[in-house]
């Protein structure tokens, strides 16, 4: 019988990525219903030092494949390793981060083991109601109490769809980075480490990496930011981001952007929030001159506090804002940066 909630944990340059820890956190929540172990799968070269971290964040077991072929991400060796693990352990569920790595390897694995894969999910839960059990059973699911329901946006976030994978195992999904929450770190947590051997051959390295380049600029991880000040078309030009940066600087926030500004070349792509950019859930999201197309809202609606400034009082961004200001960002933002600095200075003096 298929068993276990498996999470393929992403590492880059030998470091476990946050999305992996988020998925382990989500797996522990699924475990509350399914009662199966949470198993982290770690693939890389010389990465045993990262294993304990996976226990600290909730994994019961870690399956480690440590091999030079897995140092940099290459489709075939990764596919082969994950497939071998599935064949050996027959997981009930297997989750991947919906990153440029997870979205490359997961479909290949699903196809090889002949199972379904749901892309870019934002919600996972075990089937619980009689209606859900009946539906799963009607589609050929043998044990509906172990069925996973996977929710994802489609049509640019216009529609949400809940999918199931009733007949084949593992039930597989990629999960958007930044959506799930990791659990609190507990350094006393321990688990079982399984060192797994995969028989790689030279033929598995079927492409040749000629060059590996890590972005030299300080890479921005908006999904980690507590405070984000974001600019949209309404800021007028690339120079408009100077005011956004100034407010962000005053607050100690990161700078975000709508897709329009990225497409216009005003700011780098890694600043983009939304369906085709990052999903963020900061304590503060300040939307400046952003109309709030559904694709943008899809990436920021989990924010704790949303403040928006827009000239157009019918801008859809106001529908998801805690505080909306109808006004000109070009007038308000410079004054806002000053006011925040003044406030902070006073607070220190008092």
């Amino acid at each position: 019988m298929s068993k276990g909630i498996y999470v393929v944990v992403e590492q880059r340059s030998g470091k476990v990525q946050n999305v992996g820890l988020e998925l382990i956190g989500e797996a522990t929540r699924l475990k509350a219903d399914l009662k199966d172990d949470v198993v982290a799968v770690l693939l890389g070269s010389d990465i045993e030092g990262e294993v304990d971290k996976l226990f600290h964040y909730g994994a019961d077991k870690v399956v480690l494949v440590d091999h030079p072929y897995l140092k940099e991400y290459v489709t075939e060796p990764y596919t082969k390793a994950v497939t071998a693990i599935i064949k050996e352990y027959d997981p009930e569920i297997m989750l991947f981060g919906a990153s440029s790595i997870g979205r490359d390897v997961a479909p290949r694995v699903a196809s090889r083991v002949r199972t379904g894969l749901v892309a870019d999910t934002t919600g996972l839960r075990m089937a619980k109601t009689q209606e859900e059990f009946d539906k799963e059973a009607s589609m050929g699911c043998e044990d509906p109490t172990r069925a996973l329901l996977m929710t994802r946006p489609a049509f640019g976030g216009n529609i949400m769809a809940t999918l199931m994978c009733p007949r084949t195992k593992p039930q597989m999904a990629t999960v958007r980075p930044g959506v799930m929450k990791r659990i609190d770190k507990d350094e006393s947590r321990k688990g079982e480490l399984i060192k797994f051997n995969v028989d790689f051959t030279e033929a598995d390295m079927n492409v040749e990496i000629l060059e590996v380049v890590k972005a030299d600029k300080k890479s921005v991880d908006l999904t980690e930011a507590k405070l984000i000040v974001s600019g949209g078309r309404g800021i007028g030009s690339a120079q408009g981001f100077d005011m956004i940066r100034d407010v962000a600087d005053a607050l100690g926030a990161e700078v975000g952007s709508s897709r329009a500004c990225v497409d216009a070349g005003w700011i780098e792509k890694d600043r983009q929030v939304g369906q085709t950019g990052k999903t963020v859930r900061p304590d503060l999201y300040m939307a400046c001159g952003i109309s709030g197309a559904i694709q943008h809202v899809a990436g920021m609606e989990g924010s704790e506090l949303v403040i928006s400034i827009n000239k157009n009082d019918t801008a859809p961004i106001f529908e998801v804002s805690d505080l909306g200001i109808v006004g000109d960002v070009k007038v308000i933002l410079p004054k806002l940066a000053d006011a925040i600095r003044k406030y902070k200075a006073n607070k220190v003096t008092n």
Binding site: G156, T162, V213, V326
Partner: protein, 263 residues
């Protein structure tokens, strides 16, 4: 070199609306377009043909109306267009779709396959890699530049969130294209005229059945099924302040930041 580009006809999502009563998509009057990433793939293929010679074949799976997308691809300069269509294929998920397209590609023949990274309606990015798997050819996805191309191999720049790889991959292989790869050309007048003179070949179930996993196609054979679709609940609107002076607006924002312990 025989290059095959897989394209999908998609609704122009910006204009997609939902029926508030039924919660389903209103497709009437919504224009269809070639998916953006796929159009980028067509452009990359045409550029490679200009360098290396050979042909560009464009393939789409969908209902008979998808021939509009194929004619547009012909008008851009593709040599041949094939529609993969059949009642048996309807409702296929990515696993089933890639199996059907792989069967079609076996019939068509290929040295290089290009797909878009993902379609704007489904956003899955799965069909490209899954076609490659079915055909047992290597893939590079998220291709943002073709650095070098010969009959035997291509060298591409593969994008990651935190950098890139330069990868040499032997043909036959599959690449998935992202927007940075190319800017699609416009259709030429001559191309449009010629596009309507060319025949679009149709491959149906009977043509492909020998290469299909018969229990893994269409709505019934798809390993994933939709349980339900719904419109997303939006967070309720808070306070909206109009007609404030800049100073009043600034004060309102600072007060809010203070109230929520942001500053």
């Amino acid at each position: 070199m025989k290059i095959v580009v897989c394209i999908k006809q998609v609704p122009d999502t910006v204009e997609v609306k939902i029926d508030p009563k039924t919660g389903t998509l209103i497709r009437d009057g919504v224009p269809s377009i070639i998916n953006h990433d796929d159009k980028t793939g067509i452009e990359a293929a045409l550029t490679l043909r200009e360098q290396l010679g050979g042909t560009v074949t464009v393939v789409s799976m969908g209902p008979p109306q998808a021939d509009v997308a194929l004619r547009e691809a012909l008008a851009m300069g593709c040599d041949e267009a094939i529609l993969v269509s059949g009642r048996e294929f309807g409702g296929s998920d990515t696993y089933a779709t890639s199996g059907i397209l792989a069967a079609a590609l076996k019939k068509i023949g290929y040295d290089l396959i290009i797909t878009g990274r993902q379609a704007i309606d489904g956003d899955t990015a799965q069909v490209g890699p899954q076609i490659a798997e079915k055909l047992h050819v290597p893939q590079v996805s998220y291709v943002e530049e073709v650095k070098e191309a010969t009959e035997d191999y291509v060298v591409v720049k593969r994008q990651f969130e935190d950098g890139y790889h330069i990868i040499k991959i032997k043909t036959p292989c599959l690449l998935t294209a992202i927007a940075e790869l190319a800017t699609p050309r416009y259709m030429s007048v001559r191309g449009i005229v010629e596009a309507y003179e060319k025949e679009i070949k149709i491959l149906g179930f009977e043509d492909l059945k020998d290469d299909l996993e018969l229990d893994m196609i269409g709505l019934k054979g798809s390993p994933t099924n939709v349980y339900q679709s719904f419109t997303k609940e939006v967070k309720g609107a808070g306070t909206i302040l109009k007609d404030l002076s800049a100073d009043e607006a600034v004060k309102a924002i600072v007060d809010k930041l203070e109230e929520k312990f942001i500053i």
